[in-house]
Symmetry: C2
Subunit: 382 residues, 2 copies
C-alpha cells in the first residue's frame, strides 16, 4: 500500500491558513487552499492553491474533491453551500451547522443564553425604537453589533447617546445589516479559553489567556491570565459544555469578560483564533497543529504551556510606508522573541504579524515583546 | 518602497531544506529549491522549485538569479561551480572555499590538525601497502573513509584485518574513491557542537548534544550531553575557533569523540545538521531559523534549550511496507512528543523522520520518544 498524505482543504488563505500550513509540514499533511487572490497571506507560501470564491459552488466542489476534509480560515462561507458539500459526501469540519451558528450572533446569544450560560443582557434590534429603548434601559452604556460578518472591530459600535444610536441604525438599515445590542459591562479584564475537540469527543483545553483589546482589536495576549483559579475553572467548564453543545470539531476560541468579579460569555470563533497565537512558541502543541489533528480525527496533543510566562503582541500596521519587514534585523537585535510575519502589506490598523516572548514573569516577557515591536516600527512606547 | 521578501536559494531538497522552509514562513523569507526530483522531501511542500542538477551551471545560474543568497541542503556540489557563481556576483553561504573544505576529509584533517586541534591519528591512503602499514600500526583497530561523498555510514568502513583492508582498497580503487584511514578510538561517547556564525562574525553556540550512533547513523540525540562541563567548554572553544578559521557562515555542526576522558575532533558539516534537530522543539531558536538568519546577515537568536532534558530519536525506515505515516494516530496516542515526518518512503535504514520529547530527565524523555516510535512502527524495544 502506497502512502498518500491526508489532504486538508482550507477555505480562505489568510494568516490562519498560513500558520496551519507551517504546522502541517512535520505531520506530512497536505494543504489545498481556496484563496481569493494568489497573493493572499497563505497562498504566497503554498504549492497547492485554487483561486476563486467560496460563493461559487463549483469552486467549493473542486476544493472538496482535492481534499479529505474541508476546514476554514474565516467564517464568511454560506452554510447552505457547506451543507450541500456535506450531502455530497464530503467531510466538513467544523460542521455546517456549527459554522452557521458562528455566523449568527443573534442565534448564538439565544441558544447559549437558553442553555444558561452567563451573558451580558442583550436584545435583537429590528427597529430604531427598540434600540432607543435598550439604550435608555442601560443608561447609554451599550454596544451594537452586526449579527454577522463583523471581525476585528468591524461591525461593532460603541453607542453612548440617542443620536449615535440613530446614526448606527440608519447606516445598518442602508446596508441591510441585522443588529443586536448588548449591555456594555464595566470590564475588569477580558480573557479567552481555547480548546480543541475531535469528532469522537476528545477535548484538550489550553490555559486561559488574557486578551488585552484596543479599538476592538486584540492587541496583547498574556499567559497566565490574571484571573482567579476558580473563574478559570468555571470558564473552562463552560467552554467544554459549549463545545459539546455545538458539536465542535477543531479549535474553538471562546471570549469571556470579567466584570465586577463575575464571568460573562462574549463571543466564540470555531477556528484557530488570534488569542491562540501564543501556543506556537509557548505550548507543547500549537493551536494550528491541534486543529489539524482534530479535523483529521487524530489524538490531540498536550495544550500545556512550556514556559512560566508568555506574552504575544499583535503587530498592527501603521501604514504601508512603515513596513516592519524592512526592519527585521533591528527587531531581532532588540531582544529574544519569536517574530511572525503574515506576508501582508502594513496598512494602518491591520494585523500583519505577531511577536511572542517567554520569560519568568509577564512583566519581563512584556518588556521584551514591546522592545522588539518598537524596534520593528522604529518607535518608542505605544 | 514596496516590500520584496528576501529569497534564499537552496541547492538540494531533502529534509533539511524541508525544515528550513518551515522556519522561513514566519520570517517572510522566500525559499527557491534546486531539487533533483519534484517529489523530493522539500519539493513536495514548496511553491518555488527548479528541477535539475547542480552539476549543470545554467541550472545553478537560474537558481542564483532567483535568489538573494544561495545555501545548501547537502555538500555534493562542485566548489568550482560555486566559485564561478560567486565571481558572477552571487552571494553563496557557506562560501565556496568552506564548502570545498567540507567535501575533502583529507584536507580537513590536515588543516585542522595543523591548527593543533585534537584528532585521532590518521593517514592518507594512496596504496594498499600504506593501508596495511597503518592497520598494523594500530592493531587493526582502524576506520577507512572515503575522502569525499560519504554520509550516513556510506563511505565508511570498519577494517579489522589485512584481508578486509585489501577488499576495501580494491573496491575504492575500482570506483576511483580517494581514501584516508583513522585510528579507531575506544569511545566513551560521541557528541556534537552546533553553532551559527554570521558574515560579520557573530557566533551563537548551542549546548553540547550527545549523539548516539548505530551502524554509522546518528540515532538518538540527548541534551544535556553526559559530559564534564570542562570538556563541553573546551569543545565549544574549539568549535568557535574552527568556525572562524574556515570563515563559516550559517550553521556548522562539529562532531567530537570522547575517548578515555579525552576530547577528539571527528568531522564537520557546514549546514543544518542531524544533531541539531532537537532545536526545533527544544531551543529558543531552531537551527533552521538560525541558519536563515546567518546567511541573510540577520542577528542570531538565543541557542538556549527551553526544557530541562530533550531527547530526539531518528525514525529509520524498516521497509516501505512498514510506513509509520499510516500509524500516526497510534504514535500520537502513545505519548506527548513532536513527530516530524520528512515525506520520504520508508526504505530500510533511511532517515524518514524524527521524534522529540522534552521532560524533566533524559530518562523520562527517552521513554516517551521510544514509546511514540514503537507505536509508529508497531514494534516494541529496538
Amino acid at each position: 500500500m502506497t502512502w498518500r498524505p491526508p489532504t486538508v482543504g482550507i477555505v480562505g488563505a489568510g494568516q490562519l491558513a498560513r500558520m496551519t500550513i507551517q504546522a502541517a509540514i512535520p505531520l506530512d499533511v497536505r494543504i489545498v487552499l481556496l484563496a481569493a487572490d494568489v497573493d493572499d497571506s497563505a497562498a504566497q507560501i503554498a504549492p497547492r492553491v485554487i483561486v476563486g470564491s467560496p460563493d461559487d459552488r463549483e469552486t467549493l466542489k473542486d476544493l472538496a474533491q482535492r481534499s479529505d476534509v474541508i476546514t476554514f480560515d474565516h467564517e464568511l462561507v454560506n452554510p447552505a453551500s457547506l451543507a450541500w458539500l456535506e450531502a455530497a459526501g464530503h467531510q466538513v469540519w467544523p460542521s455546517p451547522s456549527t459554522m452557521a451558528l458562528a455566523q449568527d450572533k443573534r442565534r448564538q446569544r439565544r441558544e447559549l443564553g437558553d442553555a444558561g450560560f452567563p451573558m451580558p443582557s442583550y436584545a435583537n434590534i429590528d427597529c430604531l425604537d427598540a434600540l432607543l429603548a435598550f439604550g435608555e434601559g442601560y443608561d447609554w452604556r451599550v454596544v451594537v453589533k452586526a449579527s454577522s460578518g463583523g471581525y476585528d472591530g468591524r461591525g461593532v459600535w460603541m453607542v453612548d447617546s440617542p443620536a449615535e444610536a440613530e446614526a448606527v441604525w440608519r447606516g445598518a438599515k442602508s446596508s441591510g445589516t441585522v443588529l443586536l445590542a448588548e449591555e456594555r459591562l464595566p470590564l475588569d479584564l477580558e480573557f479567552a479559553i481555547l480548546l480543541a475537540r475531535t469528532p469522537g469527543g476528545e477535548i484538550a483545553v489550553y490555559p486561559p489567556v488574557e486578551t488585552v483589546q484596543r479599538d476592538g482589536i486584540c492587541h496583547e495576549l498574556r499567559v497566565p491570565a490574571r484571573i482567579d483559579a476558580d473563574l478559570g475553572m468555571e470558564a473552562t467548564r463552560i467552554a467544554r459544555k459549549i463545545a459539546e453543545q455545538i458539536g465542535m470539531v477543531g479549535i474553538l476560541g471562546i471570549e469571556f469578560f470579567v466584570s465586577r468579579g463575575e464571568l460573562y460569555l462574549n463571543e466564540l470563533a470555531p477556528r484557530p483564533h488570534n488569542s491562540g497565537h501564543w501556543t506556537i512558541d509557548g505550548a507543547v502543541t500549537s493551536q494550528f497543529e491541534q486543529h489539524l489533528r482534530a479535523v483529521l480525527d487524530l489524538p490531540l496533543g498536550s495544550p500545556e504551556q512550556t514556559g512560566q510566562a508568555i506574552v504575544t503582541l499583535n503587530l498592527l500596521g501603521r501604514g504601508t510606508a512603515d513596513d516592519p519587514r524592512f526592519r527585521l534585523a533591528e527587531g531581532l537585535a532588540a531582544g529574544d522573541a519569536h517574530v511572525h510575519f503574515y506576508g501582508k502589506k502594513a496598512r494602518a490598523g491591520r494585523k500583519i504579524g505577531h511577536v511572542t516572548a517567554i520569560d519568568n514573569s509577564i512583566e519581563a516577557a512584556s518588556v521584551r515583546v514591546w522592545a522588539v515591536r518598537n524596534a520593528l516600527f522604529d518607535v518608542s512606547g505605544l
